[in-house]
Amino acid sequence: MTDRYISKESLGTLITTVNKSGGRFVAPVLDARQVVYKEVASIEPVVDDYILPRNSYKEVAFPQTEVIYKYELNRAGVTIDPVEIEARETIVFGARPCEAASLASLNSVFTWDFIDETYTKREERVVVLSVGCINADDECFCTTVNLSPKSTTGSDVALYETDNGYIATPITDKGKAFVKTYSASFADTPKGEKRKELIDPEKIEGVDLTKLGETLAKTENYDNPKWAELTRKCCGCGACTYSCPTCHCFDITDEGTAFEGERRKNWDACQFDHFTLHASGHNPRDTQYKRYRNRFMCKFHIYPTKFNSTGCVGCGRCIRVCPVRLDITELMEAMSK
């Protein structure tokens, strides 16, 4: 399929058309003075001058909280009422190419052996329209993890900004089908409309992903004093995990009374001290550096070796939101040595 073009005006029509046909259109908007991914009904609130929205769009397939089922207790026993998984067409517009790689990683966790349909049923209906970055900030490090504003991994349609719209390159079958379904919004590229130049964020020279992986795979490095030294300032707030597009940890809890209620699947974070606390009081990750180490190992050892996927996409959100300015790339450099 050849490149198509969508003007900003047509983008507005696309948003209303998707909404009218029962779909969700998620795009970066300004909310409480921050750019965040949110569902929109029209183009008005959509912004295009942003580096990266503050939240990850993983929540379209893996909501912060969701009801798994409802229960009712009565004289006859217990009745379970499974909740239908709300899976409708969801368009994520303005995804950055780094983050686009993340859903495939989440997919690998939610489908190995056991299939978690609360995730897959939604993810199957997600169409990612990435927009190549023309700006970056100091926290961006996609090129350090072998991605870049040019990457198309995980994009269904890769969009590139022009003066008045976007040049659209369909990447996947899903993306091609999307462009076909909404063909009225797409046109041939008008003369004079050219892709704006993409930014090329600097690669952090001291990071060597291969070496980093080798270091982490060795059990003798597990209690390297560097872990505690470099992460001492971590306060365990978990902000990195909540903003991270590949963090997948969750909790299962009951909310309700002895008579009725619901079981929920909620985001959780490996940074909390109770996360791995045994009933006996024993805690395998009893200090903060062990919890930080777990998250770091997850990104650079577990995801790549166990799930054969990208653990860290270099979006830099964990650095931007960190209240103590703990920079994951410092650890990446230290562990590459």
Binding site: G77, P82, L277, N294, H301
Partner: protein
């Protein structure tokens, strides 16, 4: 079933008060068909629901050879287990599973089996014990070393009496120093010490050891002294779990998910794992 996290409903058919705070349930699936078809292997575990409170992970404490029901044993220690502690015979709870790997008992045919358990870690071992005893003709001698802090903390007291009386089993019971009563007939001493003193022969013998991490650590040492190779020693790891199916991110030891690739490991495997348990 399309949703992994929806439990089966089970009825509490019987309750056994093992100690002042440890309880066992005999559970029967409400679904008649499932009651007939449910299968598991010894060593596997499940997630047990107290509706309105949540889920907890316990092993399947009964043997797969006993059809029609499952058993679990737990200590009343948190929100869910205290809730389960308040349930009565006839009440409904939830179960999902079986999950995890199992003890490879088919590979142990013809071998002697040595069981070692401490405190509330007897339930997972008990599943294997009954599985072996129900097919004793396939296996060699059975020795059980079981200890608890005090006499009052020993679980399955009825079964201990039964095993003690059986001529085809050697049962060594012990309590920690200070935990004995005036009429205590067993040994006084920590499990690893009693194990070492037992002089159990390592030749053609498989050891299954379950207990608190510190007990496992010293038992592995004792088994080494008795001549057991690490490949002949099996244990289970017990990290906190919420999903049981390799998604929620809690139980991993390095890149090994205990809920999926465990909970059963050989001492050889344990010794190569990250220290995250």
């Amino acid at each position: 079933m399309s949703n992994l996290y929806i439990p089966h409903l089970v009825t509490i058919e019987d309750i056994y008060e093992e100690t002042s705070d440890i309880r066992s349930f005999k559970l029967v699936f409400k679904d008649k068909e499932l009651r007939e078809t449910f299968e598991f292997k010894t060593g596997q575990f499940g997630l047990y629901s107290a509706f309105g409170l949540g889920e907890s992970t316990f092993c399947l404490a009964s043997s797969p050879t006993r059809k029609g029901y499952i058993q679990c044993t737990f200590r009343k220690t948190g929100r869910v287990t205290n809730g389960l502690g308040e349930l009565s015979i006839g009440d409904t709870m939830g179960f999902r599973g079986p999950y995890g790997n199992h003890f490879p008992i088919e590979e142990w045919k013809g071998k002697n089996i040595l069981f070692i358990a401490g405190g509330i870690a007897l339930p997972p071992v008990r599943s294997v014990i009954w599985n072996i005893l129900d097919r004793h003709e396939d296996f060699g001698n059975v020795t059980i070393v079981y200890g608890a802090k005090t006499v009052a903390d020993l679980v399955y007291k009825e079964e201990l009496r039964h095993w003690d009386e059986r001529p085809d089993i050697k049962l060594i019971q012990t309590v920690d120093p200070g935990g004995e009563t005036d009429d205590w007939q067993g040994k006084v001493g920590f499990v690893p010490t009693v194990l070492e003193e037992s002089k159990v022969k390592a030749e053609n013998t498989i050891a299954v050891v379950c207990g608190p991490p510190i007990m496992i650590k010293f038992c592995l040492g004792a088994l080494g002294k008795l001549g057991f190779s690490d490949d002949a020693v099996f244990t289970t790891l017990e990290n906190k779990m919420k999903c049981g199916v390799g998604k929620c991110g809690r139980c991993n030891v390095g890149d090994i998910y205990i809920c999926k690739e465990g909970p059963v490991y050989t001492a050889t495997q344990i010794k190569t794992m990250f220290a995250d348990f």
